[in-house]
């Protein structure tokens, strides 16, 4: 990092638990760092030694392939020793509470724990009980900060800015931590944020988070710079929230007809994994304006940046 970049770097936090509350300066500091990491990741030698000797634990209470492997790769490229722990629901039901698990891991003296949990607030609870840095990799329907940061980085690299862009977040907003984190990051960076969903998949008072609400996707995509699709969980498709996947696809699936309402250079995003033919037409997913693969690439870069940023607050650094 150049001295100038170092001087402007600002991230005075030991944990990354939420995007709500992050300042534009903090977000931009992380994105700047991630830009550099992205360059390193395209070189033959991707290994750095910033986290050499450090131990990173990936603690996943919920199954995840993408986020976990992305953090694993990020940790290894930064030089850390990475351990993956998948705590299945069954072992939790054996009686060990989240706090017990946290205390046990804490005794192993890790430097950073990356946590995903199915309950909102669980990562914050765990962070209160351990001495190391904690990174939220998704807690219930609350937040998924690194996803929102990688989305912002993808947008910034493709469009040169985030401020002033109109972003439509489409799909299951109600159950989505990705949507909540993105709403906070995009608003903080000065974008206009819309949410597009059937009313059954909108959380109560969502407009209070500073978004425009659309229940008609054709209108919601009008003049958008970014179309950000969300994954629809299978268990939500049949009856309780929606009549059928067929009907959902008709009204809320991203196809050519609806995409035409967006700006001609609008980008298509999806956090993955995609349900092709449910929330997104297969051809759209592979569209020339789809940046879905870039999101995956930026995911590793953003996580390297976040690890580096929190590591600055570890003792003996």
């Amino acid at each position: 990092m150049t001295p100038a970049a170092h001087a402007s770097f600002h991230f005075p936090r030991r944990h990354l638990l939420t995007c709500e509350g992050l300042s534009a300066k903090e977000i931009n500091s992380l994105l700047d760092l991630a830009d550099k990491a992205a360059e390193v990741n395209r070189q033959v030698n991707k290994k750095r030694d910033i986290l050499r000797g450090r131990t990173l634990i990936n603690l996943f209470f919920e199954v995840s392939t993408r986020t976990q492997s992305s953090f694993e790769l990020a940790g290894k490229r930064m030089g850390a020793d990475v351990m993956n722990m998948n705590v299945s629901t069954s072992s939790v039901q054996k009686g060990e509470t989240l706090i017990d698990t946290a205390m046990t891991l804490n005794a192993m003296r890790p430097d950073i724990i990356v946590v995903r949990h199915h309950a909102a607030g669980a990562v914050e609870l765990l962070a209160q009980k351990v001495d190391c840095s904690v990174i939220n990799a998704g807690d219930g329907a609350h937040e998924h900060p690194t996803q929102a940061l990688l989305d912002a980085l993808t947008i910034r690299r493709a469009k040169g800015r985030v401020s002033g862009l109109t972003v439509a977040i489409c799909g299951d907003i109600l159950h989505s931590r990705v949507a909540r984190s993105n709403i906070h990051v995009l608003n903080t960076l000065g974008a206009n944020v819309r949410v597009v969903a059937p009313s059954t998949l909108l959380p109560s008072a969502v407009e209070r988070l500073g978004v425009e609400v659309y229940t008609d996707m054709w209108k919601g995509l009008e003049g958008c710079d970014i179309v950000m699709m969300l994954r629809l969980q299978r268990e939500r498709m049949q009856g309780a929230y929606l009549p059928s996947t067929r009907e959902y696809y008709h009204f809320f699936g991203l196809d050519h007809d609806k995409l035409e309402r967006a700006k001609p250079d609008a980008l298509i995003m999806h956090p993955g994994p995609m349900n092709r033919g449910v929330e997104i037409a297969s051809a759209i997913a592979d569209h020339s304006r789809s940046v879905i693969q870039d999101q995956v690439e930026m995911g590793v870069a953003v996580r390297m940046a976040v690890l580096e940023a929190v590591a600055r607050h570890l003792p003996n650094h």
């Binding site: 709500e20 509470t97 989240l98 706090i99 949990h117 309950a119 909102a120 607030g121 669980a122 914050e124 609870l125 807690d139 219930g140 329907a141 609350h142 937040e143 931590r177 909540r180 959380p203 109560s204 008072a205 969502v206 209070r208 988070l209």
Partner: protein, 446 residues
């Protein structure tokens, strides 16, 4: 049930005790005046201005130093873990908590293991209370077997065994026909049906009130309509059956409006509110603080204000602590997975006095909802300062400041939402049937 008396200070009780120099407050008669009160054989023998300074010969004298002497509080919603979950709370520890809070009568809810839905269990709890509790204990028996809402419990026999009212505990009877029949059948016995009002389909999976706060912190929420829907249905059923009905803990303006209209139509309907919904709101949850996870959930500030106004207007009949002890294991969890419930016996009066000090309600109507109103609702002779009434008394200083420290609370569980809260007003003495069961500054007995 007869009050527990034998646990008094061993054999030293004189037959006659006089409380001098008190500010007598009796919500039943509207009395608020300087005076004294004479207790003979566990009964209020005399009271008034003439006893302010003059003690009868041979009486044990207690100088109240101008503090408030009022009827002991009656709390008609107390959950214990006795039987089955004694690590959370026993009748004994609940009664110690009650005594420290100025509560002289508690009504125990049927949500125990096993559920109090049989005569033998009523007998058991009564015996345990006689042997161990230092305040009066009454039993709210199960309205339906196992609280499942499917089959009626033996309302007549349970009542004969001593059950004071019938409730479906922490759940609502979802089946409207069951509820109708329960009201109809209970009416033949003059039995009171107390109901928790919550549509369990609407509230399934919810961890808090729906709205901006829930959306922001990513918790599944339930709209307050889930409560009002059941209140509205129940009022229709009361109209149909004529059964006596009490909505146990309302939490929003809309539900209260339904009750108010039912009262205007002279239906036999009353309602209660928990101290939590009078003094706290959903913002208190803050960063997932599970001690504020209760049912019904804490609502918005507008609803809290509506509940206080309803109380001041007399639309709300009783305040309960809804004391619900939960241990650390079930509270130190992610919010959605943590148990519901907050303890409240020991902080009931002090928390209620917040409303008085904030100018939201006068002292008389505030105390009325914790004394004579619950007494009338349950048909108890206590809850009043009156010649011939049981000498269940509360002496308190309405102004002295203090800070709640949950480690100092007598309840076996420490899940108090008022931990570290600043309070104004505290209990100095609690007297049950003429015997002092709590005195501020003295270590608990037993």
């Amino acid at each position: 049930m007869s009050p527990a008396r034998k646990t008094g200070v061993a054999g030293s009780d004189p037959e006659v005790t006089v409380f001098l120099n008190a500010r007598l407050i009796d919500p039943a008669s509207g009395r608020d005046e300087p005076g004294g009160l004479l207790v003979r054989d566990a009964i209020i023998a005399d009271l008034g201005g003439h006893l302010r300074r003059n003690a009868p010969e041979g009486a044990k004298v207690i100088d109240c130093q101008g503090h408030v002497l009022a009827p002991g509080l009656i709390d008609c919603q107390v959950f214990t873990g006795d039987p089955g979950q004694e690590h959370r709370e026993t009748l004994k520890t609940a009664s110690f908590a009650a005594a420290a809070g100025g509560v002289t009568t508690i009504v125990c809810m049927p949500d125990t293991e096993p559920v109090i839905d049989q005569v033998a269990l009523v007998d058991y709890v009564q015996r345990r209370a006689r042997e161990r509790a230092i305040v009066n204990v009454h039993i709210m028996a199960a309205l339906t077997r196992g609280l499942k809402g499917e089959e009626m419990a033996e309302i007549g026999l349970l009542q004969r065994a001593g059950a004071i009212a019938f409730s479906n505990g922490k759940s609502s009877v979802a089946n409207s026909r069951m509820m109708r029949n329960a009201l109809l059948y209970a009416k033949d016995f003059g039995a009171l049906v107390v109901h928790h009002t919550e549509d369990s389909f609407l509230s399934a999976g919810a961890a808090m009130n729906s709205g901006e706060v829930a959306t922001r912190i990513g918790l599944p929420g339930v709209h307050k309509a889930a409560e009002t829907i059941v209140v509205e249905r129940d009022v229709r059923l009361v109209e149909l059956t004529g059964g006596r009905y009490h909505a146990s803990t309302l939490s929003c303006a809309e539900s209260l409006a339904v009750i108010r209209q039912a009262k205007d139509r002279k239906l036999p309907v009353t309602c209660g509110v928990s101290i939590n919904h009078l003094t706290l709101n959903e913002n208190d949850i803050g960063p997932y603080r599970t001690f504020f996870k209760i049912r019904p959930p804490l609502r918005a500030e507008d609803d809290r204000v509506a509940m206080v106004r309803g109380l001041a207007a007399g639309d709300i009949d009783v305040i309960v602590s809804s004391h619900d002890p939960q241990d650390a294991d079930v509270k130190r969890r992610p919010f959605a997975e943590a148990a519901d419930g907050a303890i409240g016996l020991e902080t009931l009066l002090a928390a209620a006095l917040r409303l008085y000090h904030n100018g939201e309600i006068q002292l008389l109507p505030l105390l009325r909802a914790m004394t004579i109103n619950p007494a009338k609702l349950l048909g108890l002779p206590s809850g009043r300062l009156e010649k011939g009434a049981p000498a269940d008394l509360l002496l308190f200083d309405p102004d002295v400041p203090w800070v709640v420290d949950r480690e100092q609370l007598r309840s076996r569980s420490k899940n108090s939402p008022f931990d570290e809260s600043k309070m104004q007003g505290r209990v100095l003495r609690t007297i049950v049937a003429g015997t002092c069961v709590y005195q501020y500054g003295e270590p608990p007995r037993g």
